[in-house]
Protein backbone atom coordinates (compact mmCIF):
# COMPACT_ATOMS: atom_id res chain seq x y z
CA UNK A 1 0.00 0.00 0.00
CA UNK A 2 2.83 2.34 0.96
CA UNK A 3 4.40 1.60 -2.39
CA UNK A 4 1.23 2.56 -4.18
CA UNK A 5 1.08 5.89 -2.36
CA UNK A 6 4.68 6.59 -3.23
CA UNK A 7 3.93 5.86 -6.86
CA UNK A 8 0.92 8.12 -6.84
CA UNK A 9 2.79 10.91 -5.18
CA UNK A 10 5.53 10.92 -7.78
CA UNK A 11 3.04 10.88 -10.65
CA UNK A 12 2.13 14.35 -11.65
CA UNK A 13 -0.50 14.63 -14.34
CA UNK A 14 1.60 15.50 -17.31
CA UNK A 15 0.10 17.26 -20.27
CA UNK A 16 1.19 14.76 -22.87
CA UNK A 17 0.22 16.94 -25.78
CA UNK A 18 2.33 20.08 -25.77
CA UNK A 19 1.45 23.21 -27.67
CA UNK A 20 3.49 26.32 -28.27
CA UNK A 21 2.76 28.84 -25.52
CA UNK A 22 0.30 31.10 -27.29
CA UNK A 23 2.76 32.40 -29.85
CA UNK A 24 2.08 31.73 -33.49
CA UNK A 25 3.78 34.77 -34.96
CA UNK A 26 7.38 33.72 -35.42
CA UNK A 27 8.54 36.87 -37.21
CA UNK A 28 10.41 38.22 -34.19
CA UNK A 29 12.57 35.10 -33.94
CA UNK A 30 16.03 36.03 -35.07
CA UNK A 31 19.53 34.66 -34.80
CA UNK A 32 21.34 31.36 -34.88
CA UNK A 33 22.11 29.87 -31.48
CA UNK A 34 24.65 27.18 -30.67
CA UNK A 35 24.37 25.38 -27.35
CA UNK A 36 27.95 24.85 -26.20
CA UNK A 37 28.68 21.49 -24.61
CA UNK A 38 31.35 21.34 -21.94
CA UNK A 39 32.76 19.16 -19.21
CA UNK A 40 34.73 20.71 -16.35
CA UNK A 41 34.98 23.98 -18.22
CA UNK A 42 36.40 22.44 -21.39
CA UNK A 43 34.20 22.73 -24.48
CA UNK A 44 33.61 19.83 -26.84
CA UNK A 45 35.26 20.43 -30.19
CA UNK A 46 31.95 20.04 -31.98
CA UNK A 47 30.64 23.19 -30.29
CA UNK A 48 33.32 25.36 -31.89
CA UNK A 49 32.92 23.55 -35.23
CA UNK A 50 29.24 24.35 -35.04
CA UNK A 51 29.95 28.02 -34.31
CA UNK A 52 32.11 28.09 -37.44
CA UNK A 53 29.35 26.80 -39.69
CA UNK A 54 26.68 28.83 -37.89
CA UNK A 55 28.67 32.01 -38.52
CA UNK A 56 28.14 31.38 -42.22
CA UNK A 57 24.41 30.76 -41.71
CA UNK A 58 24.00 33.84 -39.51
CA UNK A 59 25.78 36.04 -42.05
CA UNK A 60 23.58 34.68 -44.80
CA UNK A 61 20.51 35.49 -42.69
CA UNK A 62 21.99 38.83 -41.65
CA UNK A 63 21.28 37.76 -38.08
CA UNK A 64 23.38 37.53 -34.91
CA UNK A 65 25.31 34.42 -33.98
CA UNK A 66 24.44 33.44 -30.43
CA UNK A 67 25.94 30.91 -28.07
CA UNK A 68 24.57 29.44 -24.87
CA UNK A 69 26.98 28.21 -22.22
CA UNK A 70 25.64 26.29 -19.22
CA UNK A 71 27.77 25.00 -16.35
CA UNK A 72 29.78 26.05 -13.32
CA UNK A 73 32.90 28.22 -13.57
CA UNK A 74 32.40 28.51 -17.30
CA UNK A 75 32.89 32.26 -17.69
CA UNK A 76 36.02 31.58 -19.73
CA UNK A 77 33.99 29.61 -22.26
CA UNK A 78 31.88 32.66 -23.05
CA UNK A 79 35.03 34.50 -24.06
CA UNK A 80 36.17 31.52 -26.09
CA UNK A 81 32.81 31.41 -27.86
CA UNK A 82 33.29 35.02 -28.90
CA UNK A 83 36.82 34.29 -30.13
CA UNK A 84 35.32 31.47 -32.20
CA UNK A 85 32.72 33.70 -33.81
CA UNK A 86 29.75 34.37 -31.48
CA UNK A 87 28.27 37.87 -31.32
CA UNK A 88 26.42 37.32 -28.06
CA UNK A 89 26.82 34.62 -25.44
CA UNK A 90 24.22 33.70 -22.85
CA UNK A 91 25.86 32.23 -19.77
CA UNK A 92 24.15 30.38 -16.98
CA UNK A 93 26.83 29.73 -14.40
CA UNK A 94 25.89 28.11 -11.12
CA UNK A 95 27.10 25.27 -8.83
CA UNK A 96 23.95 23.21 -9.44
CA UNK A 97 24.68 23.34 -13.18
CA UNK A 98 28.14 21.82 -12.78
CA UNK A 99 27.17 18.40 -14.17
CA UNK A 100 24.89 17.97 -17.12
CA UNK A 101 21.42 16.87 -16.06
CA UNK A 102 18.48 16.97 -18.41
CA UNK A 103 15.98 18.94 -16.34
CA UNK A 104 18.03 21.89 -15.06
CA UNK A 105 19.87 22.27 -18.38
CA UNK A 106 16.72 22.07 -20.48
CA UNK A 107 14.99 24.59 -18.23
CA UNK A 108 17.78 27.09 -18.89
CA UNK A 109 17.63 26.41 -22.64
CA UNK A 110 13.86 26.80 -22.71
CA UNK A 111 14.08 30.06 -20.79
CA UNK A 112 16.70 31.49 -23.15
CA UNK A 113 14.84 30.34 -26.26
CA UNK A 114 11.51 31.80 -25.10
CA UNK A 115 13.07 35.02 -23.88
CA UNK A 116 15.53 35.76 -26.66
CA UNK A 117 13.85 33.95 -29.56
CA UNK A 118 16.57 32.55 -31.81
CA UNK A 119 15.21 31.28 -35.15
CA UNK A 120 17.66 28.36 -35.26
CA UNK A 121 19.07 26.33 -32.36
CA UNK A 122 21.90 23.87 -32.97
CA UNK A 123 23.92 21.51 -30.82
CA UNK A 124 26.35 18.65 -31.28
CA UNK A 125 24.86 15.24 -32.01
CA UNK A 126 26.75 13.88 -29.01
CA UNK A 127 25.04 11.76 -26.36
CA UNK A 128 24.48 14.85 -24.24
CA UNK A 129 23.40 16.94 -27.22
CA UNK A 130 20.81 14.40 -28.28
CA UNK A 131 19.58 13.98 -24.72
CA UNK A 132 19.11 17.72 -24.31
CA UNK A 133 17.79 18.52 -27.80
CA UNK A 134 15.18 15.75 -27.59
CA UNK A 135 13.83 17.16 -24.35
CA UNK A 136 13.82 20.80 -25.46
CA UNK A 137 12.22 20.21 -28.86
CA UNK A 138 9.39 18.26 -27.23
CA UNK A 139 8.81 20.91 -24.59
CA UNK A 140 8.64 23.82 -26.99
CA UNK A 141 7.40 21.98 -29.17
CA UNK A 142 9.25 22.25 -32.43
CA UNK A 143 10.84 20.15 -35.14
CA UNK A 144 14.23 18.60 -34.54
CA UNK A 145 16.55 17.03 -37.08
CA UNK A 146 19.07 14.53 -35.75
CA UNK A 147 22.68 14.07 -36.68
CA UNK A 148 22.88 16.56 -39.56
CA UNK A 149 25.95 16.58 -41.75
CA UNK A 150 25.05 19.56 -43.97
CA UNK A 151 23.41 22.85 -43.03
CA UNK A 152 22.10 25.72 -45.08
CA UNK A 153 19.37 28.35 -45.06
CA UNK A 154 17.12 29.34 -47.94
CA UNK A 155 15.55 32.64 -48.97
CA UNK A 156 12.54 31.96 -46.71
CA UNK A 157 14.98 31.84 -43.78
CA UNK A 158 14.32 28.13 -43.42
CA UNK A 159 16.99 25.87 -42.05
CA UNK A 160 17.80 23.05 -44.45
CA UNK A 161 19.41 20.36 -42.33
CA UNK A 162 20.56 17.37 -44.29
CA UNK A 163 21.34 14.04 -42.76
CA UNK A 164 22.20 10.55 -43.82
CA UNK A 165 19.38 8.01 -43.69
CA UNK A 166 19.35 4.24 -43.94
CA UNK A 167 22.96 3.78 -42.98
CA UNK A 168 24.28 6.56 -45.19
CA UNK A 169 22.73 5.11 -48.33
CA UNK A 170 20.52 8.14 -48.73
CA UNK A 171 20.76 11.80 -47.76
CA UNK A 172 17.63 13.72 -46.83
CA UNK A 173 17.06 17.44 -46.31
CA UNK A 174 14.71 18.15 -43.43
CA UNK A 175 12.81 21.40 -42.94
CA UNK A 176 10.57 22.73 -40.21
CA UNK A 177 8.19 25.37 -41.55
CA UNK A 178 5.62 25.35 -38.80
CA UNK A 179 7.50 26.28 -35.66
CA UNK A 180 10.42 28.27 -34.37
CA UNK A 181 13.13 27.79 -33.43
CA UNK A 182 14.16 25.25 -36.02
CA UNK A 183 16.38 22.74 -34.28
CA UNK A 184 19.06 20.28 -35.33
CA UNK A 185 21.83 18.26 -33.79
CA UNK A 186 24.99 18.13 -35.87
CA UNK A 187 27.59 15.44 -36.20
CA UNK A 188 31.06 16.06 -34.80
CA UNK A 189 33.95 16.44 -37.21
CA UNK A 190 31.90 17.58 -40.19
CA UNK A 191 32.48 21.32 -39.95
CA UNK A 192 35.58 23.34 -39.16
CA UNK A 193 35.91 25.84 -36.37
CA UNK A 194 36.91 29.38 -37.32
CA UNK A 195 40.45 30.34 -36.44
CA UNK A 196 40.67 31.58 -32.85
CA UNK A 197 40.56 35.37 -32.82
CA UNK A 198 40.64 36.99 -29.40
CA UNK A 199 40.43 40.46 -30.88
CA UNK A 200 36.76 39.76 -31.69
CA UNK A 201 34.29 41.44 -29.40
CA UNK A 202 30.89 40.30 -28.26
CA UNK A 203 28.28 40.70 -25.60
CA UNK A 204 27.93 38.42 -22.59
CA UNK A 205 24.45 38.08 -21.09
CA UNK A 206 24.04 36.32 -17.75
CA UNK A 207 21.09 34.03 -17.26
CA UNK A 208 19.90 32.75 -13.88
CA UNK A 209 19.55 29.00 -13.34
CA UNK A 210 15.90 28.05 -13.60
CA UNK A 211 15.80 25.35 -10.92
CA UNK A 212 17.07 25.45 -7.36
CA UNK A 213 19.37 22.70 -6.11
CA UNK A 214 16.64 21.08 -3.99
CA UNK A 215 14.28 20.83 -6.95
CA UNK A 216 16.76 18.66 -8.82
CA UNK A 217 16.37 15.04 -7.75
CA UNK A 218 18.76 13.37 -10.18
CA UNK A 219 22.28 13.20 -8.86
CA UNK A 220 25.49 12.57 -10.78
CA UNK A 221 27.47 10.40 -8.38
CA UNK A 222 30.65 10.38 -10.40
CA UNK A 223 32.11 10.53 -13.85
CA UNK A 224 34.75 8.00 -14.66
CA UNK A 225 36.73 9.28 -17.60
CA UNK A 226 37.72 6.26 -19.60
CA UNK A 227 41.10 6.52 -21.15
CA UNK A 228 40.25 3.16 -22.56
CA UNK A 229 37.14 4.45 -24.29
CA UNK A 230 37.90 4.25 -27.95
CA UNK A 231 36.99 7.58 -29.49
CA UNK A 232 36.69 6.74 -33.15
CA UNK A 233 34.37 9.62 -33.96
CA UNK A 234 36.92 12.24 -32.92
CA UNK A 235 40.02 10.40 -34.14
CA UNK A 236 42.06 12.13 -36.83
CA UNK A 237 43.78 8.91 -37.83
CA UNK A 238 42.26 5.42 -37.78
CA UNK A 239 44.09 2.21 -38.59
CA UNK A 240 41.44 -0.45 -39.16
CA UNK A 241 41.59 -4.18 -39.70
CA UNK A 242 39.28 -6.85 -41.05
CA UNK A 243 39.25 -10.55 -41.68
CA UNK A 244 42.74 -10.39 -43.20
CA UNK A 245 44.19 -9.41 -39.84
CA UNK A 246 43.73 -13.00 -38.75
CA UNK A 247 43.30 -12.53 -35.02
CA UNK A 248 44.04 -10.41 -31.95
CA UNK A 249 47.79 -10.60 -32.60
CA UNK A 250 47.31 -8.96 -35.98
CA UNK A 251 45.51 -6.08 -34.32
CA UNK A 252 48.59 -5.48 -32.16
CA UNK A 253 50.46 -4.71 -35.39
CA UNK A 254 47.80 -2.19 -36.36
CA UNK A 255 47.94 -0.73 -32.88
CA UNK A 256 51.65 -0.08 -33.23
CA UNK A 257 51.03 1.86 -36.42
CA UNK A 258 48.11 3.73 -34.83
CA UNK A 259 50.36 4.63 -31.91
CA UNK A 260 52.97 6.17 -34.18
CA UNK A 261 50.27 8.20 -35.92
CA UNK A 262 48.51 9.21 -32.71
CA UNK A 263 45.39 7.45 -33.94
CA UNK A 264 42.87 4.83 -32.92
CA UNK A 265 42.33 1.25 -34.05
CA UNK A 266 39.19 0.46 -36.01
CA UNK A 267 37.72 -2.84 -37.15
CA UNK A 268 35.25 -4.30 -39.60
CA UNK A 269 32.18 -6.17 -38.43
CA UNK A 270 33.72 -9.53 -39.29
CA UNK A 271 36.71 -8.91 -37.03
CA UNK A 272 34.37 -7.97 -34.19
CA UNK A 273 32.06 -10.91 -34.79
CA UNK A 274 35.00 -13.30 -34.82
CA UNK A 275 35.79 -11.97 -31.36
CA UNK A 276 39.21 -10.55 -32.25
CA UNK A 277 38.44 -7.05 -31.01
CA UNK A 278 35.67 -5.32 -29.09
CA UNK A 279 32.60 -3.75 -30.63
CA UNK A 280 33.63 -0.23 -29.63
CA UNK A 281 36.28 -0.41 -32.39
CA UNK A 282 33.75 -1.25 -35.08
CA UNK A 283 33.39 1.04 -38.08
CA UNK A 284 30.41 0.76 -40.41
CA UNK A 285 26.72 0.26 -40.43
CA UNK A 286 26.34 -1.38 -37.03
CA UNK A 287 29.34 0.44 -35.62
CA UNK A 288 30.60 4.00 -35.88
CA UNK A 289 30.53 6.35 -38.81
CA UNK A 290 33.87 8.06 -38.95
CA UNK A 291 35.54 10.71 -41.03
CA UNK A 292 39.15 10.95 -39.93
CA UNK A 293 41.76 12.77 -41.91
CA UNK A 294 43.56 9.51 -42.58
CA UNK A 295 42.02 6.03 -42.67
CA UNK A 296 44.20 3.01 -43.18
CA UNK A 297 42.25 -0.16 -44.03
CA UNK A 298 44.30 -3.33 -43.64
CA UNK A 299 42.87 -6.70 -44.58
CA UNK A 300 39.42 -5.20 -45.11
CA UNK A 301 37.70 -6.28 -48.30
CA UNK A 302 35.39 -3.26 -48.40
CA UNK A 303 31.82 -4.53 -48.03
CA UNK A 304 29.16 -1.80 -48.14
CA UNK A 305 28.50 -2.47 -44.46
CA UNK A 306 31.99 -1.16 -43.76
CA UNK A 307 32.51 1.47 -46.43
CA UNK A 308 29.39 3.48 -45.54
CA UNK A 309 31.07 4.14 -42.22
CA UNK A 310 34.43 5.37 -43.51
CA UNK A 311 34.11 6.52 -47.11
CA UNK A 312 34.10 10.19 -46.13
CA UNK A 313 37.57 10.05 -44.63
CA UNK A 314 39.87 12.67 -46.17
CA UNK A 315 42.56 10.18 -47.21
CA UNK A 316 42.23 6.43 -47.41
CA UNK A 317 45.03 3.89 -47.72
CA UNK A 318 44.04 0.29 -48.46
CA UNK A 319 46.23 -2.71 -47.93
CA UNK A 320 44.91 -6.03 -49.19
CA UNK A 321 46.20 -9.25 -50.67
CA UNK A 322 43.38 -9.35 -53.18
CA UNK A 323 43.86 -6.83 -56.02
CA UNK A 324 40.13 -7.11 -56.77
CA UNK A 325 39.04 -6.13 -53.23
CA UNK A 326 36.36 -3.41 -53.48
CA UNK A 327 38.13 -1.38 -50.80
CA UNK A 328 40.61 -0.17 -53.43
CA UNK A 329 37.80 1.73 -55.17
CA UNK A 330 37.52 3.92 -52.08
CA UNK A 331 41.22 4.35 -51.50
CA UNK A 332 43.51 7.19 -52.54
CA UNK A 333 46.46 4.85 -52.18
CA UNK A 334 46.49 1.09 -52.49
CA UNK A 335 49.06 -1.57 -51.78
CA UNK A 336 48.41 -5.12 -52.92
CA UNK A 337 50.34 -7.20 -50.46
CA UNK A 338 50.57 -9.02 -47.17
CA UNK A 339 49.60 -6.70 -44.36
CA UNK A 340 51.89 -8.56 -41.97
CA UNK A 341 54.79 -7.22 -44.01
CA UNK A 342 53.36 -3.93 -45.23
CA UNK A 343 52.04 -2.63 -41.90
CA UNK A 344 55.33 -3.00 -39.98
CA UNK A 345 57.16 -1.35 -42.90
CA UNK A 346 54.70 1.55 -42.78
CA UNK A 347 55.08 1.81 -39.02
CA UNK A 348 58.83 2.06 -39.38
CA UNK A 349 58.70 4.56 -42.23
CA UNK A 350 56.08 6.77 -40.55
CA UNK A 351 58.08 6.70 -37.35
CA UNK A 352 61.09 8.08 -39.16
CA UNK A 353 59.08 10.80 -40.80
CA UNK A 354 56.51 11.89 -38.23
CA UNK A 355 56.98 9.67 -35.21
CA UNK A 356 58.87 11.98 -32.93
CA UNK A 357 56.42 14.79 -33.28
CA UNK A 358 53.29 12.78 -33.35
CA UNK A 359 53.60 9.97 -30.87
CA UNK A 360 51.43 10.54 -27.84
CA UNK A 361 52.83 9.90 -24.37
CA UNK A 362 52.22 6.30 -23.35
CA UNK A 363 49.84 7.10 -20.51
CA UNK A 364 47.69 9.30 -22.70
CA UNK A 365 46.69 6.85 -25.31
CA UNK A 366 43.81 4.50 -25.56
CA UNK A 367 44.96 0.95 -24.96
CA UNK A 368 43.77 -1.51 -27.55
CA UNK A 369 40.72 -3.51 -26.61
CA UNK A 370 41.42 -6.88 -28.09
CA UNK A 371 39.62 -9.83 -26.63
Amino acid sequence: MAEQTAKERTRSKPAVGLQPTGEVDWSNYRGVMVVVEQRDGVAKKVSWQLLGESRRLADKLDAPLLALVIGHDVEQLAKEAIAYGADRVYVSDSPELKDYRTRPYSRVCLHVIREFKPEIVLMGATYTGRDLAGAIATHLPTGLTADSTQLDVNEERLLMASRPAFSEKLLATILCKQFKPQMATVRAGVFEALPWDDSRTGEIVRVAPQMSADEIVTEVLEFVAEKSRVNLEDAEVIVAGGRGVGGPAGFQLLDELAKVLGGEVGASRVAVELGWIEHEHQVGQTGFTVRPKLYIAAGISGAVQHTVGMQNSDYIIAINKDPEAPIFKFANYGIVGDLFQVVPALTKAFKERVGKRQETPAGDRTPLHVM
Binding site: R130, S167, K169, C176, T218, V224, Q285, T286
Partner: protein, 278 residues
Protein backbone atom coordinates in the same frame (compact mmCIF):
# COMPACT_ATOMS: atom_id res chain seq x y z
CA UNK B 1 5.53 -5.34 -8.01
CA UNK B 2 7.42 -3.31 -10.57
CA UNK B 3 5.59 -2.32 -13.69
CA UNK B 4 7.87 -1.86 -16.68
CA UNK B 5 6.92 -0.66 -20.14
CA UNK B 6 9.23 -1.44 -23.03
CA UNK B 7 8.83 0.56 -26.24
CA UNK B 8 9.80 -1.32 -29.38
CA UNK B 9 9.75 -0.57 -33.07
CA UNK B 10 9.64 -2.94 -35.96
CA UNK B 11 12.20 -1.77 -38.50
CA UNK B 12 13.47 -2.96 -41.86
CA UNK B 13 16.79 -4.70 -41.45
CA UNK B 14 18.93 -1.86 -42.75
CA UNK B 15 21.68 -4.25 -43.76
CA UNK B 16 19.35 -5.59 -46.43
CA UNK B 17 18.17 -2.28 -47.83
CA UNK B 18 19.28 -1.34 -51.34
CA UNK B 19 18.73 1.76 -53.40
CA UNK B 20 17.01 1.61 -56.77
CA UNK B 21 19.62 3.23 -59.00
CA UNK B 22 16.95 4.49 -61.42
CA UNK B 23 14.57 6.15 -58.97
CA UNK B 24 16.93 6.87 -56.04
CA UNK B 25 14.38 5.35 -53.73
CA UNK B 26 14.69 2.58 -51.20
CA UNK B 27 13.83 -0.91 -52.25
CA UNK B 28 11.85 -2.14 -49.27
CA UNK B 29 10.43 -5.18 -50.98
CA UNK B 30 11.70 -8.40 -49.54
CA UNK B 31 13.56 -6.63 -46.75
CA UNK B 32 13.03 -8.57 -43.52
CA UNK B 33 11.35 -6.73 -40.64
CA UNK B 34 13.11 -7.09 -37.30
CA UNK B 35 12.74 -5.68 -33.81
CA UNK B 36 15.10 -2.73 -33.48
CA UNK B 37 18.27 -4.09 -31.84
CA UNK B 38 18.52 -1.60 -28.99
CA UNK B 39 14.85 -2.09 -28.09
CA UNK B 40 15.67 -5.74 -27.47
CA UNK B 41 18.36 -4.60 -25.02
CA UNK B 42 15.64 -2.62 -23.25
CA UNK B 43 13.38 -5.67 -23.20
CA UNK B 44 16.16 -7.92 -21.91
CA UNK B 45 16.85 -5.53 -19.04
CA UNK B 46 13.15 -5.42 -18.16
CA UNK B 47 12.99 -9.21 -18.24
CA UNK B 48 16.07 -9.61 -16.07
CA UNK B 49 14.57 -7.17 -13.54
CA UNK B 50 11.45 -9.32 -13.69
CA UNK B 51 13.60 -12.38 -12.94
CA UNK B 52 15.26 -10.69 -9.98
CA UNK B 53 12.53 -8.54 -8.43
CA UNK B 54 9.33 -9.73 -10.02
CA UNK B 55 7.71 -7.36 -12.47
CA UNK B 56 4.98 -6.95 -15.01
CA UNK B 57 6.48 -6.23 -18.41
CA UNK B 58 4.26 -4.57 -20.98
CA UNK B 59 5.63 -4.03 -24.47
CA UNK B 60 4.18 -1.26 -26.63
CA UNK B 61 4.74 -0.49 -30.27
CA UNK B 62 3.35 1.90 -32.84
CA UNK B 63 3.23 0.55 -36.36
CA UNK B 64 1.24 -1.16 -39.07
CA UNK B 65 -0.85 -4.28 -38.27
CA UNK B 66 2.06 -6.48 -39.38
CA UNK B 67 4.11 -5.15 -36.44
CA UNK B 68 2.19 -7.61 -34.23
CA UNK B 69 4.98 -10.05 -35.12
CA UNK B 70 7.43 -7.87 -33.23
CA UNK B 71 5.20 -7.96 -30.16
CA UNK B 72 4.78 -11.73 -30.42
CA UNK B 73 8.56 -12.03 -30.50
CA UNK B 74 8.76 -9.98 -27.29
CA UNK B 75 6.13 -12.23 -25.68
CA UNK B 76 8.09 -15.30 -26.73
CA UNK B 77 11.06 -13.85 -24.84
CA UNK B 78 9.00 -13.37 -21.69
CA UNK B 79 6.99 -10.13 -21.89
CA UNK B 80 3.58 -10.34 -20.20
CA UNK B 81 1.56 -8.27 -22.60
CA UNK B 82 2.01 -6.59 -25.98
CA UNK B 83 0.09 -3.54 -27.15
CA UNK B 84 0.11 -2.48 -30.78
CA UNK B 85 -0.97 1.08 -31.44
CA UNK B 86 -2.03 1.02 -35.03
CA UNK B 87 -4.10 3.34 -37.15
CA UNK B 88 -3.64 4.89 -40.56
CA UNK B 89 -3.99 8.29 -38.89
CA UNK B 90 -0.69 7.68 -37.04
CA UNK B 91 1.26 7.15 -40.26
CA UNK B 92 3.92 9.61 -41.37
CA UNK B 93 4.76 10.67 -37.82
CA UNK B 94 8.11 12.27 -37.07
CA UNK B 95 9.72 11.95 -33.65
CA UNK B 96 7.54 14.64 -32.07
CA UNK B 97 4.27 13.06 -33.21
CA UNK B 98 5.58 9.60 -32.34
CA UNK B 99 6.53 10.57 -28.80
CA UNK B 100 3.02 12.00 -28.38
CA UNK B 101 1.34 8.72 -29.29
CA UNK B 102 3.79 6.59 -27.28
CA UNK B 103 3.30 8.83 -24.24
CA UNK B 104 -0.49 8.54 -24.57
CA UNK B 105 -0.08 4.79 -24.85
CA UNK B 106 2.01 4.57 -21.69
CA UNK B 107 -0.63 6.65 -19.89
CA UNK B 108 -3.32 4.27 -21.07
CA UNK B 109 -1.22 1.27 -20.00
CA UNK B 110 -1.14 2.89 -16.56
CA UNK B 111 -4.92 3.25 -16.58
CA UNK B 112 -5.36 -0.41 -17.44
CA UNK B 113 -2.58 -2.12 -15.44
CA UNK B 114 -1.54 0.47 -12.87
CA UNK B 115 1.30 2.98 -12.38
CA UNK B 116 4.46 2.45 -14.35
CA UNK B 117 7.84 2.54 -12.63
CA UNK B 118 10.13 2.35 -15.63
CA UNK B 119 9.96 2.83 -19.34
CA UNK B 120 12.65 1.41 -21.61
CA UNK B 121 13.40 2.54 -25.15
CA UNK B 122 16.34 1.66 -27.38
CA UNK B 123 18.96 4.39 -27.68
CA UNK B 124 17.85 4.91 -31.27
CA UNK B 125 16.26 2.99 -34.12
CA UNK B 126 18.09 1.48 -37.06
CA UNK B 127 15.88 3.22 -39.59
CA UNK B 128 15.45 6.64 -38.01
CA UNK B 129 18.72 6.85 -36.09
CA UNK B 130 17.56 9.89 -34.14
CA UNK B 131 17.39 8.83 -30.50
CA UNK B 132 14.76 11.53 -30.02
CA UNK B 133 11.65 9.54 -29.18
CA UNK B 134 12.92 8.37 -25.77
CA UNK B 135 13.62 11.89 -24.47
CA UNK B 136 10.33 13.03 -26.05
CA UNK B 137 8.32 10.41 -24.16
CA UNK B 138 10.16 11.17 -20.90
CA UNK B 139 9.45 14.85 -21.34
CA UNK B 140 5.74 14.35 -22.05
CA UNK B 141 5.25 11.97 -19.12
CA UNK B 142 7.45 14.05 -16.80
CA UNK B 143 9.70 11.04 -16.13
CA UNK B 144 13.34 11.33 -15.14
CA UNK B 145 15.30 10.77 -18.31
CA UNK B 146 18.32 8.46 -18.26
CA UNK B 147 19.71 7.99 -21.75
CA UNK B 148 22.42 5.61 -22.99
CA UNK B 149 22.20 3.28 -19.99
CA UNK B 150 24.80 0.50 -20.09
CA UNK B 151 24.25 -0.87 -16.59
CA UNK B 152 21.75 -0.76 -13.79
CA UNK B 153 24.00 -0.77 -10.76
CA UNK B 154 21.33 -0.69 -8.12
CA UNK B 155 17.59 -0.61 -7.75
CA UNK B 156 16.08 0.15 -4.37
CA UNK B 157 12.38 -0.57 -4.65
CA UNK B 158 11.55 0.76 -1.18
CA UNK B 159 13.31 4.07 -1.58
CA UNK B 160 12.35 4.12 -5.24
CA UNK B 161 15.90 4.91 -6.24
CA UNK B 162 17.91 3.67 -9.16
CA UNK B 163 21.61 4.02 -9.91
CA UNK B 164 22.66 3.55 -13.51
CA UNK B 165 25.80 3.88 -15.58
CA UNK B 166 25.42 6.10 -18.64
CA UNK B 167 27.66 5.32 -21.57
CA UNK B 168 29.12 8.58 -22.87
CA UNK B 169 31.75 9.33 -25.51
CA UNK B 170 34.49 9.96 -23.02
CA UNK B 171 33.58 7.80 -20.07
CA UNK B 172 30.92 6.49 -17.78
CA UNK B 173 28.64 8.56 -15.65
CA UNK B 174 27.06 7.08 -12.54
CA UNK B 175 23.69 8.69 -11.92
CA UNK B 176 21.15 8.26 -9.17
CA UNK B 177 17.53 9.04 -9.96
CA UNK B 178 14.09 8.59 -8.46
CA UNK B 179 11.50 6.35 -10.05
CA UNK B 180 9.61 6.61 -12.29
CA UNK B 181 12.32 6.86 -14.93
CA UNK B 182 12.66 6.43 -18.65
CA UNK B 183 15.85 4.72 -19.74
CA UNK B 184 17.28 4.29 -23.20
CA UNK B 185 19.37 1.18 -23.72
CA UNK B 186 22.72 0.77 -25.47
CA UNK B 187 24.04 -2.52 -26.82
CA UNK B 188 26.50 -2.82 -23.91
CA UNK B 189 23.59 -3.11 -21.45
CA UNK B 190 23.13 -6.85 -21.98
CA UNK B 191 22.78 -9.67 -24.47
CA UNK B 192 19.12 -10.26 -25.32
CA UNK B 193 17.95 -13.78 -24.47
CA UNK B 194 16.54 -16.27 -26.89
CA UNK B 195 12.90 -17.18 -26.67
CA UNK B 196 12.14 -20.02 -24.28
CA UNK B 197 10.07 -22.99 -25.40
CA UNK B 198 7.09 -22.05 -23.19
CA UNK B 199 7.50 -18.52 -24.47
CA UNK B 200 7.33 -19.67 -28.06
CA UNK B 201 4.24 -21.73 -27.31
CA UNK B 202 2.55 -18.81 -25.59
CA UNK B 203 3.48 -16.40 -28.38
CA UNK B 204 2.05 -18.77 -31.01
CA UNK B 205 -1.39 -18.37 -29.44
CA UNK B 206 -0.93 -14.79 -28.31
CA UNK B 207 -2.87 -11.96 -29.92
CA UNK B 208 -1.42 -8.53 -29.11
CA UNK B 209 -3.88 -5.94 -27.87
CA UNK B 210 -4.56 -3.39 -30.60
CA UNK B 211 -5.44 0.22 -29.85
CA UNK B 212 -6.54 2.64 -32.57
CA UNK B 213 -7.24 6.38 -32.42
CA UNK B 214 -10.70 5.54 -31.04
CA UNK B 215 -9.17 4.00 -27.94
CA UNK B 216 -7.64 7.28 -26.76
CA UNK B 217 -10.21 9.56 -25.14
CA UNK B 218 -8.13 12.75 -25.16
CA UNK B 219 -6.33 12.27 -28.44
CA UNK B 220 -5.63 15.52 -30.28
CA UNK B 221 -5.73 14.64 -33.96
CA UNK B 222 -3.72 17.72 -34.84
CA UNK B 223 -0.72 16.22 -33.06
CA UNK B 224 -0.57 12.81 -34.72
CA UNK B 225 0.67 11.43 -38.00
CA UNK B 226 1.93 13.56 -40.82
CA UNK B 227 -0.17 16.54 -39.70
CA UNK B 228 1.31 16.51 -36.24
CA UNK B 229 4.87 16.35 -37.52
CA UNK B 230 6.69 19.68 -37.73
CA UNK B 231 9.59 18.27 -39.72
CA UNK B 232 9.15 17.56 -43.39
CA UNK B 233 11.47 15.84 -45.80
CA UNK B 234 12.49 18.32 -48.48
CA UNK B 235 14.48 16.19 -50.86
CA UNK B 236 16.39 12.97 -50.74
CA UNK B 237 19.34 12.00 -52.84
CA UNK B 238 21.94 9.31 -53.08
CA UNK B 239 25.30 10.64 -51.99
CA UNK B 240 27.67 10.67 -54.88
CA UNK B 241 30.42 8.17 -54.65
CA UNK B 242 33.55 10.28 -54.74
CA UNK B 243 35.44 9.48 -57.93
CA UNK B 244 38.79 8.49 -56.63
CA UNK B 245 41.85 8.06 -58.74
CA UNK B 246 43.48 5.30 -56.74
CA UNK B 247 47.24 5.43 -56.74
CA UNK B 248 48.55 1.87 -56.56
CA UNK B 249 51.94 1.46 -54.94
CA UNK B 250 53.85 -1.50 -56.31
CA UNK B 251 55.97 -3.81 -54.21
CA UNK B 252 58.46 -4.58 -57.00
CA UNK B 253 61.24 -2.57 -55.36
CA UNK B 254 60.60 -4.14 -52.01
CA UNK B 255 58.26 -3.37 -49.18
CA UNK B 256 60.40 -0.77 -47.48
CA UNK B 257 60.75 1.20 -50.65
CA UNK B 258 56.99 1.03 -51.19
CA UNK B 259 56.37 2.31 -47.67
CA UNK B 260 58.74 5.23 -48.19
CA UNK B 261 57.20 5.94 -51.58
CA UNK B 262 53.68 5.99 -50.12
CA UNK B 263 54.64 8.32 -47.30
CA UNK B 264 56.49 10.56 -49.73
CA UNK B 265 53.31 10.83 -51.80
CA UNK B 266 51.22 11.54 -48.70
CA UNK B 267 53.57 14.38 -47.84
CA UNK B 268 52.90 16.03 -51.18
CA UNK B 269 49.21 16.35 -50.23
CA UNK B 270 47.40 18.58 -47.74
CA UNK B 271 47.30 15.77 -45.22
CA UNK B 272 50.47 16.58 -43.24
CA UNK B 273 49.26 20.15 -42.76
CA UNK B 274 45.83 18.92 -41.68
CA UNK B 275 47.37 16.59 -39.16
CA UNK B 276 49.94 19.07 -37.95
CA UNK B 277 52.85 17.01 -39.24
CA UNK B 278 54.14 19.70 -41.53
Amino acid sequence: MLHIVVCVKQVPDSREIRIDPKTNTLIRQGVPAIVNYFDLNGLEEALSLKDRFGARVTVVSMGPPSADKALKQCVSMGADEGVLVSDRAFAGADTLATSYVIALTVQKVEEVWGPVDMVFCGKQTLDGDTGQVGPGVACRLDLEQLTYVEKIEQLDEKRREIVVHRHLEDGIERVKAKLPVLMTAVAELNKPRRASLPGVLRAAEYKPIVWTTNDFANLDRAQIGLKGSPTIVGKTWVPEQKKIDTQMIGLDKGIESAATDLIGQLFSTELPAKLGWA
